[in-house]
Amino acid sequence: MKKDLLSIDDLTSDEIYLILDTSEAMREIGQRPIKKVPTLRGKTVVNLFYEPSTRTRTSFEIAEKRLSADTLNIAVASSSVLKGETLVDTALNIEAMQPDMIVMRHASSGAGHLLSRVCRSRIINAGDGMHEHPTQALLDAFTIREHKQRIEGLKITIVGDLLHSRVLRSNVRLLTKLGAEVWVSGPSTFVPSGIEQFGVRVSADINEAVADADVIMMLRIQQERMSGAFIPSLREYFNTFGMTKARVAKAKPDVIIMHPGPMNRGVEIASDVADGPYSVILEQVANGVAVRMAVLYLLAGGVEVD
């Protein structure tokens, strides 16, 4: 593995499968009475979050603690960033205290790459702007593989706010690398230009996109990232692209419904689908801890120095 995990492009398919297999073993630790192993004893991991996050930050922190790393959380709301410090200065100051790994979320695409150039610590990208969220794609792949025993050859349909979604970009890279047939669907204002170059099929018709799908992945309408009028109204969006029981019925009978969270119920997904029998949304959250333990373990060890 490389020094950092910034993008799915940093991983070969063999390394992705290694992470998924390691995650299987890590998951068992979460089922023990004492949910802790001494592996990362004495390693320091800094969680540097420039954007709000409940799931990802909690998930990383639990993963770090289960591996016995010393963790500390820097929430920007209570840090010197508010006093005008730049990202690189903040990173170099943290680095001066000798952490081993930095888990970072930032609103700007490429923030992790910037840090990776100035830091000796290993950097894990926990979401950078509209670019990537690699651990989310890995936990999605883990969840899919658990239900379908494979990823290659599956029809996987991703619906929603494609434009602003880093989850989409990581998932498309990972799923096409492993040989899935990826379809995307959403209003044309949400379809990034040139997305076909990533090897996905684009359909403006949600019924065509979900027909015979093995997996449906819903993306959140990211109102905080929208600067213009992308959709006429949330209600109209739900009518055209919202995931309802009627639309789920067009997919394969054993379809699974995924969502990276946080969900906007009644906007991109109906409540009876989110809580329904096909939904694996909470399993995704549970699997997130095991997958992040695997990533932390594999990155903390040796890396090939070139």
């Binding site: 390691t22 299987e24 073993a25 068992e28 009475p33 192993v37 592996t39 390693k43 591996l67 040796g302």
Partner: protein, 177 residues
């Protein structure tokens, strides 16, 4: 290089150990066999089978992966991380007499890691150690309770245990490195 144990001798050693286990432990319902991954696991299953052959009692078996407890993890900046396999102990080890099973006893560091790992699953009444081969050169104060074969070796040699379940055949070979 010489094969020091063939399939027949391995089978006889395991049968003898099964008898010794029953001789030393009177409460058979307290026993559980836990194999250390990888080759301790099939050995634990074979011992459970051998015990069943003798007195028709079923001893539960489990598998323990000790990778995350190793003391040589992350000591070098270059080596890739060892592969982790699943730990499967589908029963409570509280108040059990645990028979910890491994193929080769060498420095004792694997067993130290296994003891640490095991203790986190509960509080067994006792832990006894079963090994197919004891090759000496201990670096920690650890001793086996049941030994298939004591095999004096030099540090330049390595001992390769092969088992049908993993390697397609049963034998123990000493290799000159």
């Amino acid at each position: 290089m010489p094969v020091v144990l063939d399939a027949q001798r391995i089978a006889r050693s395991l049968a003898r150990i099964a008898h010794e286990i029953l001789e030393r432990n009177h409460q058979i319902d307290e026993l559980a066999l836990i194999g250390i991954r990888r080759r301790g696991v099939p050995l634990a299953k074979r011992l459970a089978h051998a015990i069943h052959e003798i007195n028709h009692s079923d001893v539960p078996t489990g598998a323990l992966d000790i990778t995350l407890y190793r003391d040589d993890l992350m000591r070098t900046a270059i080596a890739a991380q060892p592969l982790i396999r699943r730990t499967e102990i589908p029963f409570s080890i509280d108040d059990k007499r645990i028979l910890l099973v491994d193929d080769v006893l060498y420095t004792g560091r694997t067993i130290r890691a296994a003891l640490d790992a095991l203790i986190e699953f509960g509080r067994p009444k006792a832990i006894q150690l079963v090994v197919l081969v004891d090759r000496g050169h201990r670096e920690l104060p650890i001793k086996a309770d049941y030994v298939g074969k004591n095999l004096p070796t030099s540090l330049s040699q390595s001992v390769q245990v092969r088992l049908t379940e993993i390697d397609g055949r049963d034998e123990v070979e000493v290799l000159e490195s």
